[in-house]
């Protein structure tokens, strides 16, 4: 059974590149560009194994989405990689408090490195 990744990213171009790369690595991909789409998927029936989460999203930011996810018993321990270009200490602290597996600054990593990290967390 392939593992499924939920990508929450509002920049369509970046979302596309991330999805293409991870699909190539053999993962099933679900995408959301904002909180409404994200929650539709989260509250829906499809299971997923990891969330790739951007922080700066329209209207409802990534932190609030993460808070809501952690309030759901089903998703208490689901691995979350924050993939953002924010890097202030307060952002990292806030995300870490909500329980993330990794905080990766997009511009510091290639897509290969992202895929490697995903594999480390959930296998292929």
């Amino acid at each position: 059974m392939s593992k499924t990744i939920l990508i929450i990213e509002d920049d369509n171009f970046l979302q596309g590149l991330e999805a293409t790369k991870l699909k190539k690595e053999g993962y099933e991909i679900l995408t959301a560009s904002n909180s409404v789409e994200a929650f539709k998927i989260i509250d829906g029936k499809v299971k997923f194994d990891l969330i790739l989460l951007d922080l700066l999203l329209p209207e409802v930011d990534g932190f609030m989405i993460l808070e809501k996810i952690r309030q759901n018993k089903e998703f208490l321990t689901i691995p979350v990689i924050v993939f953002s270009n924010l890097s202030e200490e307060k952002d990292i602290k806030r995300a870490t408090k909500l329980g993330i597996s990794e905080f990766m600054i997009k511009s510091n990593f290639t897509l290969d490195e992202l895929a490697k990290k995903v594999k480390e967390l959930i296998g292929s």
Binding site: D11, N85, K106
Partner: protein
Amino acid sequence: MLTEEEIKLMKEENERLLNLSSVKSDMVSISAHQIRTALSAQKWIIKMFIDGDLGKLSAEQENLMHKAYESNERAISIVSELLLANKTENVTEKQYAFAEVDLAELIDGSIFDFSGETHSKGIEIIFLTPKTKPPLVRGDKEKLRVVFQNILENAIKYSNAHGKIFITLTEKDGFIETSVKDTGIGISEDGKKKIFEKFYRDPGAQKKAVIGSGIGLFTIKKIVETHGGKIWFDSIDGDGTTFFFTIPIYK
């Protein structure tokens, strides 16, 4: 002697400048984020070309793509430095606020802040965390962060690609001594005499930043000494430099 009116005007001007500085600082943060987003897209696309994901490249195309990738890395690095300078500019102007500070935690945070730069140069940072948790120090957290980041930034600049940087924390006589050792080219003889002088920039520093962190070792020394500590270094030409600074333990 200043008149009351003059003092009032100066206070108002000071207020205005502080507000302006804050607005500018926010603008820098927001712009930096947007630039990084654009740079991420470029980085990933160029890498796809280099990896042959978009078809085989000619030798010339491959060469140019590598140049483009390096240029993109440089831009990403400058944005990180700009963000740091943005932070430090605010911090060094403020009054000191002493409290308990966890130096180990501060160091971990700074290592993370520089992960982009160290990553692109292939530099490994080895933080030799002490077995027992070291006591907290008495310090102004943000100013100490600036001190450590400045020293780490220098270590990275002086390092060769794929070099190593070693960081240690030791308790000594009521102080915590922090050391940062690089395995780079070492400070020049001229540099050794002048490195704590205001505005001195050692010509030996590799890949000089277009924008430095904005403050030099002159200010770092002042901060450490205001804390009641000391700062010094050992440097062997061609064999690397170790910076040491001490900060009093919180009692």
